[in-house]
Structure formats: C-alpha cells, structure tokens
Symmetry: C7
Subunit: 104 residues, 7 copies
C-alpha cells in the first residue's frame, strides 16, 4: 500500500483503528556481530503512533480505544492493513485486534 | 462498471457509502524523468468526492459518516465498488472501510 | 427467471426490495455508426420502477427505502435477482445493495 | 420430499413459512400447438396456498408475514423446501425470501 | 447415535428441541402387493413425541415451541440429530427447523 | 487433550460449559458372552459430572444452564472438547449443545 | 511470535484476553526414568499469568473475566495467540475460550 505521504504524522486513523509501527529486532548477536536483516525474526511488538476516536455503540456513544500514542503493544501474527510511507512500513489494526500492552 | 454519466458530480452515494477517487502517483522520477504509467505503483490514497447521508441505527437515527467531501483518505487494498465515468475510475466504499484521514 | 407476466407494472416488490431496469448503452459510435449489441459494454445504471414498503426494525416499525420510482441508480456489478417479462430483463435488489443515486 | 398427505390443504406452515405452488407455463405456442413439457421453461411465479402465523420479534410479538393465501408471488430461483403431495410439487419459503407480489 | 435406553419416553428434549419419529411409508401397492422396504421412498412426515421447554429470549423469558406431542409435522430433508433406541430411529430438531404442521 | 490431573473432580467448567462422561455400552451379548471392546458401538449417552455457572445475558445476569451434576444426557455425535484424566476420557460441551435429558 | 521482552511480566492483556503458560508434562516415567522431551505429550493445562480488564457490554460496562492470575485452567486444543519471550512460549486466549478451572 504505497502512499505519497511526506510524513506518517499526517495519518489520523478513523473509528477504532490504531496506527502502529513494528519494532525492529536488533540485527546483532549478543557478542556484537551484525546479522544480515533477512536472518532476523520479525517481532510481534509495535509502537502505537496514532489512535482513532473509537467506534460508536448502539446509542451512538463513542467507545474509547484501549491504547494511546506511545504505548507499546503486542500485535497479532496476521491481519492489519499495511501502509507504506517512504521506505517505512506501518500497520493499521482495529483496537480489539491488539493483544496486550507492553509495560517495559 | 461502465456508466453513461456525463459527470461524476451527478453521483449521490446512498446510506453510508463514500465516493472517492484514487490519487495518482507522479509518473516522474526525482530527477524529472517521466515513467511509463505501468511501472508506477498504485497509491492507497484517495480524495473524497461525495458522501452518503449515513446508515441508520436501530432507532432509525442517522449515523453520520466520518469523512466529508474534500478529505483525503487512506483506502484499503481490496474492496470497494468501481465506477467508471468517461475514462476516469472512481470507487465507492462503506464509511467503516476507510482506514484513515490524511492531514497533509 | 421466466414469468408469464403481461406487464412489469404488475410487480410489487416485498419488504425492502427495489425493482430496477438496467439502462442500455447506446449501440452507436460518436460518428453515428451502429454497433452490434454484443460489443456494447453493460452499464451499471438502472432506473427504479417500483419499491417495496421497506423492512421492519426491531420494534416492528417500517424502515423506509432510500429511493423512489423514477430514480436513476448505480447498481452493483453482481447480485440482484433477475426477472424476465416478455423479452425484457429486470432486477430486484435489496435497498442497501444500491450504491448511489444519479442526479443527471 | 415425499409425503402421504391426501391433500395439500392439511399443511399449516409454521412460523414465517409460506406454502406456494409454482404456476405452470402454458405448454402451447401462440398458434395453438402443444409443446412437450420438457421444452417449457419453468416460471418464477407461484400461488400462495397457506401462510404461517409469522416469526416472533425479541419481545415475543408476532411479526406478520407479508402475503396471504391467494396472492401470486415472484419466488427466488434457488432455495425453498420442496414438498410432494401425490404427483404435485409444492414449496415452502420463509416470508423474507419471496421477492414480489404480482397484481395481475 | 446408539443409546442404551429402554424406552424413547425417557427422553426429555432440552431448550427448543423437538423429538420426532418419521412416519413410515406403507410398503404396499394400491392393489395390496407388499414391496421390499428398500424400494419405498422415505416420507418427510414425522410425529412429535416430546418437546423441550423452549429457548429463552434476551430477557430470560421462555419462547414457547410451536408444536406439541402428538402433532404431525413436515420435517426438512436434511438436518436433525438422529437417536437410536433399540431398532427404532428418532430425530431431534430445533423448533424453527420444522416446516409445517399436518392437520389430517 | 492430556492432563496431569489426579481426579476429574478438580475440574470446574467455566461459563456455560458442561463436563460429561460418555456411558459405556455393555460389552456383553444378551446371552452373556463378552465382546471385544472394538466391536461395541459408542453410545450417545453421558453422565453430567459438573456444570459451569452459566453464561451472562446482555445485562450481565447469569443464564442458568439446563442440566445438573448426576443428570444423564443425550450428547451430539460431533463436537465437544475432549479431556483425558488418567486413562479415562471426558468431554466438555456448551449447555445448548446437549440434546436431551434422559429420565430412566 | 518473537518478542524482545525481558520479562513476561511486562505483558498486560487487553480487553478479555488471558495470558497463560502451558504446564509441562513431567518427562519422567513412574519409575524415575527421564524421557526425551519429544516423546512427552503436551498437556492441556495452563497457569494464568495475567488477565485483561474484560470486554465491554452494549452499555459500555466492563464484563469481568472469569479467571484470575494464579488460576490453573484447561485450555482448548487449538486457538490462542502464541507469544515468545526468550525461550519460553506463552499463549493469549479470550476469556470465553478457556474450558475449565482446575482446583487441585
């Protein structure tokens, strides 16, 4: 999903969508040797960049999303909509698809 | 989905449908060389041209859609109903299928 | 779906169904040459001929349909129930399947 | 679905079910020549023979069905439960599966 | 679904389930000749032997089932849970799966 | 589904789940001859060992399950979650999956 | 689902998710002989490490989850989202997917 965006900051998720960026695994062994990127396993961790205003319940009230920008979260293995800005890839998930917050 | 429409402006989306036109990638490299269109990746960005009045909740009240004409939005990779007016292609999405607003 | 109907006007759609007839593309080029019908692309436009009374919400109240006889509408590429009266073909759609009204 | 019923009149549809009999196409050309039955296209028209009391909404109130015995209706191409009484075939549809009433 | 039951009368259907026994077609021609059982078509008729107390609506009230023991009913061609007691086979259907009552 | 449980009595089903043990068919003919177990058909009967507190309706009230420990029940042919404690196999069903109570 | 987490304790499940760790079968026979791990059957038992705040009902009230940290639970054979922290594997389940509590 290529875009012509200059900055990911221009993206304001709609409804209960959450914009995240996957955290990259360190491509370095414990002893300090750098590994080729293709051998590094993808992490299921992501940083929340922006959140939507929340979906609405049956009376039209907003249902707040459960994370906020800056949160670190555990994302599911599959799903989410990829977005590309420049060379960086981001993902949009629905709030209920996020698995856990990471407090570390 | 061919039409005999003279202008896309005649189209008034029903319920929660949103009429958008995909933004075309610049077929020009940074150094100003024009590229053949087939080599240019499709963008996931679109401009909102018209919005429906919104669907109705269980009490029959309208649920307002979350974008307005002129908004730039991030659209999903798949889905949406294509509409052709003359040589231009447009798409109709349901409001909740749109991923994010673009403020740029 | 063959019928023995003498006139399509005898058909009163039930619930939220909408009876439409697809608008035929002009089988004539700009310079006035007639084309064989098989080379003419089908249009996604249709004229509303009759509408049902609407479905009912959970309290049993009618939910009005969003179009009326005489409206021109954009219909989806797939779906709808075909009805044949004489040599003419018509379609029945549910109200929410119609994509847009055409004001032209 | 064979039955041992002596008469279709013994059948009282349950809930929102509608008992109909398909109308047979005239196996005769305009000029009066009789056609073998296998060459006659099946019609999508049916006569309503009996209707159920209607399903119930969430408060337990009956939702009236939208047709009555004697009505002629347009039935969908697929679906419905066949019932055989003697040599005649009948069908049971749910009320919302019927497409339109025929007023002719 | 074999059981060790001595009598089908011990079976009390739960929720909206209906216990029925299919009515057997007479294996005898009109002129009184007995036919081998395998040539006799299965009937879609059944006798209601026992009914459950009904499911519950969203407020926890029981929704009464629409048939009672002794009723004859039209059953669908597929579905239902078979139960075997001795050499006899019975079926359990959900109330809404039954098609019609037979008043004959 | 192996477990390290010492006793099935330690298992307290959650929500509307029902823990049952299938009743074994007597591997003995009427004349008293014992049959090899593999020739004995599995029965669809089970004994209820423990029941969950029930699921909750939309107002958060508990919906009581329809059976109690000690009840004999008819279980469906497929479905249920197997649990193994020692050499014995048990099953967990949702309350609404049970077909009938057996009063014998 | 690799992570860079230093400790599983940093994981706070969202909504109605439950973080569990499968209990390992003793890789030792009754007579004290150690078995290679690959021959040891996986257990369906798990220890609850952390629970989410619960999902919300239609009025926006929290629906409490049915287990708490420290509980031992029976988990289903399939499903759940795996999480890896260091060499240990954990799973996240939705509250209603857990089968039973183990009181032993």
């Amino acid at each position: 999903m290529a875009t012509s965006l200059r900055s990911i900051k221009s993206l304001a998720p709609l409804l209960d969508r959450i914009l995240v960026q996957r955290i990259k695994a360190e491509a370095k062994t414990a002893s300090g040797i750098y590994l080729p990127e293709s051998t590094v396993e993808k992490l299921s961790e992501a940083k929340v960049l922006a959140v939507g205003p929340g979906g609405t319940d049956k009376e039209g009230k907003r249902i707040e999303v459960s994370v906020k920008p800056g949160d670190r979260v555990l994302i599911p293995q599959y799903g989410g909509s990829p977005v590309k800005v420049g060379d960086e890839e981001y993902h949009l998930f629905r709030d209920h698809e996020l698995l856990a917050k990471i407090n570390e």
